[in-house]
């Protein structure tokens, strides 16, 4: 298991190095006149030249890259070109906001998917059909459209929630709940649709197994059959889908944070990319790269733990 973990970690480090190197080169290739981008059309050429010099853009790209890499290894990612905030601070401040949304969506999705999937599997009939239709709709309707709908109805018409912004949970819990609920719902719907289907199929499969019939014939209660045996068996694949969706949710958060004006990683990623804020984009590439690698490692370990064959492969 240790060899497996170390090997996966080494793959992750190599992958991260390749990603950041490519990202750095591509970003600078497309950066254009950075000083002009920052200062806008009204600045004189002399001021633009001074800005470029201050940013160290007059030195060769390769030397800039190794300088950045050296600093990055010590945790110093420089400062944003457009807000002058240290990149590390900008990312850490916003990471907890995005993770709040993503974990909130994972929890809501896990609970709802389990409820709906099991309900559909057990009840069948019209309940199953409605949940199937919901699943198809959940897949088909884009998250941002759901977000816009939620804002119009629940924030602007009914005034139950805030249409934009984010309140820290530690600052005012009620305010936090009013700002995160709609984004979490918008992020969750697509995921619920997918995972509920997975749970439904797994539960139906499990219920058809001989060991379930054996348990029932031995007088084990239906509740115990479901919770102690069927769900435990059916939960594995659903857990994998949920874990893999974590990375997808980070991407979904980019759009959702834009719609709700939430100061998370997604919002800053869009802004930094459109402005060409290379230091901030590079910091984001590293942060998101590390998250993706760690989540994948956790999934690999989980798979390896559940299935020893995966460790060998």
């Amino acid at each position: 298991m240790l060899t497996f973990t170390v090997r996966r970690l080494l793959y992750g480090v190599v992958l991260l190095f390749v990603i950041v190197t490519l990202a750095y080169l591509l970003l600078y290739a497309a950066a254009g006149d950075v000083g002009r981008t920052i200062l806008g059309p009204t600045a004189t050429q002399a001021t633009v030249a001074l800005k470029n010099q201050q940013l160290g853009l007059n030195s060769p790209l390769i030397s800039r890259y190794f300088s950045w890499l050296g600093h990055a290894l010590t945790g110093d990612f420089g400062s944003s070109w457009f807000t002058n905030q240290p990149v590390k601070t900008a990312i850490l401040t916003r990471l907890q906001v995005t993770l709040t949304l993503v974990f909130g969506a994972v929890i809501v999705s896990a609970v709802l998917s389990a409820v709906l999937g099991v309900w559909a599997a057990l009840r069948g009939g019209w309940v199953d059909r409605i949940i199937q239709v919901f699943s198809v709709l959940g897949f088909a309707v884009p998250g941002f459209l759901i977000a816009v709908f939620l804002v119009r109805i629940f924030a602007l018409q009914l005034h139950w929630f805030k249409p934009t912004g984010y309140v820290q949970m530690t600052y005012y819990f009620g305010g936090w709940l009013r700002t995160v609920t709609l984004p979490v719902i918008a992020l969750s719907i697509g995921l619920v649709a997918g995972v509920a289907q997975q749970v439904r199929s797994s539960v139906i499969d499990a219920l058809r197994q001989d060991w379930v019939r054996t348990l029932r014939s031995r007088g084990v209660s239906e509740r115990s059959v479901l919770f102690k045996h069927v769900l435990r068996n059916a939960g594995g694949p659903a857990l994998s889908v949920l874990a893999l969706s974590f990375v997808g949710l980070l991407g979904g958060a980019v759009i959702i944070e834009q719609v709700f004006g939430i100061p998370g990683l997604g919002q800053v990623a869009v802004l930094a990319t459109s402005e060409g804020d290379v230091p901030l984009v590079m910091g984001l590439v590293v942060a998101i790269g590390v998250i993706v690698i760690l989540v994948n490692l956790a999934i690999d370990l989980l798979q390896g733990f559940l299935n020893p064959k995966a460790r060998i492969s």
């Binding site: 009204t42 004189t44 001021t47 409820v115 005034h159 934009t164 009620g174």
Partner: protein
């Protein structure tokens, strides 16, 4: 069987979702009588005064810093940290008397030495307005309350600049701090609340308890939320989350008005063609005034305003704004849509079959349709336009190189003639890449720079008339941008600035 139990569980799960709804009903609105929540469209690039920008970033500056002078909404210069000032006869030495008893929030007293350091730092800094002090030769502290500024040449806009970023005063001690860019130390009406601020997204300010000019401190707290899309700012307006805001998009104006907000229209720019190559260095035909006039006659400005700006704005053929001494209302319609006349002018200039004109485009900013419309209207008189599309700032590098004889752009209209001239009309202006000039223009500019107010105003009108008649540009219209405010907020817009000055945004008296 189990299925009878599940509706109950589902209802329980539903309660998880509905719970917040119940809680939310207890919440209140974001704004209060002592809190101003502003929707802004740009984050603060920096809080380091020597590098700060103006325009959309002016509210950040005005919250935490005092400037040497202040401009009234109409642009008249009024005392602030400088209580009085005078020029010498040649208008090259400005002497200012400074206010006493003003301290920065770190306890450092404001005096002439501090003002000198700030001016020198701004001149050497990287604000996009750094060139505002290009004419400053030196600044000297004659005494703690007397500041003397020597100019290389008269600068009619200099006092205006001292009321903007160039005149902002920060405690010099702050500059050595590693957090200088994000933690300002000023003497202004508010202090940045770093703990409640998410840099780039939301900035919170609390009233400076020791502020010297309490009547100008209208709120106990100001929050500036950065919005990055028209939809989000509209949602915030409709949801009552802002008291006032800049908007992105005129198409949302009806919805904003339905939300009970008042719209304050601003016309800060002009959109149209800059016909840079007036000597025909790169494009021979543009050196002929009849060709440039023909280009002006080729455009149906009313249709362009409707198609490119949803009808919000006003058509014009001049680049001087309505609040400039150089403005002349008749010059809004000096050229009219007359393709037949345009073709005749081209023929008289020796181009009966038209010619080819290379121009840069930035479709990511202005859209494909804008460039297609311009192309179609010029094709109508025989001028074939070839575009090269650019991304981001590279277009400015190409324009200013100069790589193109003409370009479409939206450019600022400064109300002070000298300010406008230094941007686009003087020989070395940033947006005069071919350095076009002649004795007539130079004469008018000299009077604007060195003459009395009355002489400068007359010269500005004459210059405007000359530029229009000689078709240095082909302006289409002044697009409208809008500042909006709710029914609790009183606003007086500022001449030439995208955002009203902070002290002109007040709680409305009931």
């Amino acid at each position: 069987m189990f299925h009878r139990k599940w509706p109950g569980a589902a209802a329980g799960a539903a309660l998880v979702l509905v719970g917040p709804l119940v809680l939310s009903a207890c919440g209140g609105s974001a704004g209060s009588s002592t809190t101003l929540t502003l929707g802004v469209i740009a984050p603060a690039t920096t809080f380091e005064a020597p590098d700060m920008n103006w325009g959309n970033e002016s509210p950040y500056n005005q919250a935490v810093y005092d400037s040497l002078v202040q401009a009234s909404p109409a642009g008249v210069i009024e005392p602030h940290l400088a209580t009085a000032w005078s020029y010498n006869a040649a208008r090259t030495v400005l002497t200012m008397t400074l206010r006493t008893g003003v301290t920065f929030t770190d306890g450092t007293p404001f005096n002439a030495s501090v003002a000198v350091k700030n001016l020198e730092a701004f001149q050497k800094g990287t604000s996009n307005n750094a060139s505002d002090l290009v004419n400053m030769a030196s600044a000297t502290a004659v005494s703690p309350t007397e500041l003397m500024i020597r100019l290389k040449q008269p600068d009619p806009a200099f006092l205006t600049y001292l009321g903007e970023a160039a005149g902002s005063q920060e405690s010099p001690k702050a500059w050595s701090s590693p957090t200088a860019a994000t933690v300002p130390v000023g003497s202004g009406p508010y202090e940045l609340d770093s703990k409640a601020t998410v840099v780039g997204s939301s900035y919170a300010f609390t009233a400076n308890p020791n502020y010297w000019d309490k009547p100008e401190q209208h709120y106990s707290k100001i929050v500036m939320n950065v919005f990055t899309s028209a939809t989000t700012v509209l949602d915030a307006i409709e949801g009552g989350q802002v008291n006032a805001a800049n908007t992105f998009d005129n198409t949302t104006i009806p919805q904003i008005q339905n939300a009970g907000f008042t719209v304050y229209p601003l016309q800060l720019n002009w959109a149209g063609l800059s016909l840079f190559d007036r000597n025909g260095t790169m494009s021979g035909p543009l050196g002929n005034v009849k060709v440039r006039q023909a280009i002006n006659d080729a455009f149906d400005r009313t249709a362009l305003l409707k198609d490119m700006s949803d009808g919000y704005g006003s058509v014009t053929t001049q680049i001087f704004p309505t609040n400039s001494p150089g403005y002349e209302s008749s010059l809004n319609s000096y050229y009219s849509f007359d393709p037949a006349k345009a073709k005749q002018l081209l023929a008289e200039a020796g181009y009966p079959h038209g010619f080819t004109l290379d121009m840069p485009s930035i479709t990511a900013a202005f859209g494909e349709a804008t460039y297609a419309l311009i192309q179609a209207e010029l094709a109508n008189i025989g001028i074939k336009v070839n575009y090269t599309d650019y991304q981001g700032s590279t277009i400015f590098t190409a324009i200013l190189a100069p790589k193109y004889p003409a370009t479409y752009f939206t450019l600022e209209e400064d109300p002070i003639p000298w300010q406008l001239a230094e941007f686009i009309l003087t020989k070395d202006a940033t947006f005069n890449p071919f350095h076009s000039t002649n004795s007539t223009v130079a004469g008018y500019l000299d009077t604007i720079q060195t003459g009395s107010s009355a002489q400068a105003a007359t010269a500005a009108k004459a210059l405007n008339e000359y530029v229009v008649q000689n078709a240095w540009f082909a302006p289409f219209f002044r697009p409208q941008s809008s500042f909006v405010a709710d029914s609790h907020t009183s606003v007086v817009v500022q001449a030439g600035n995208a955002v009203p000055y902070l002290w002109n945004i007040k709680p409305k008296e009931s």
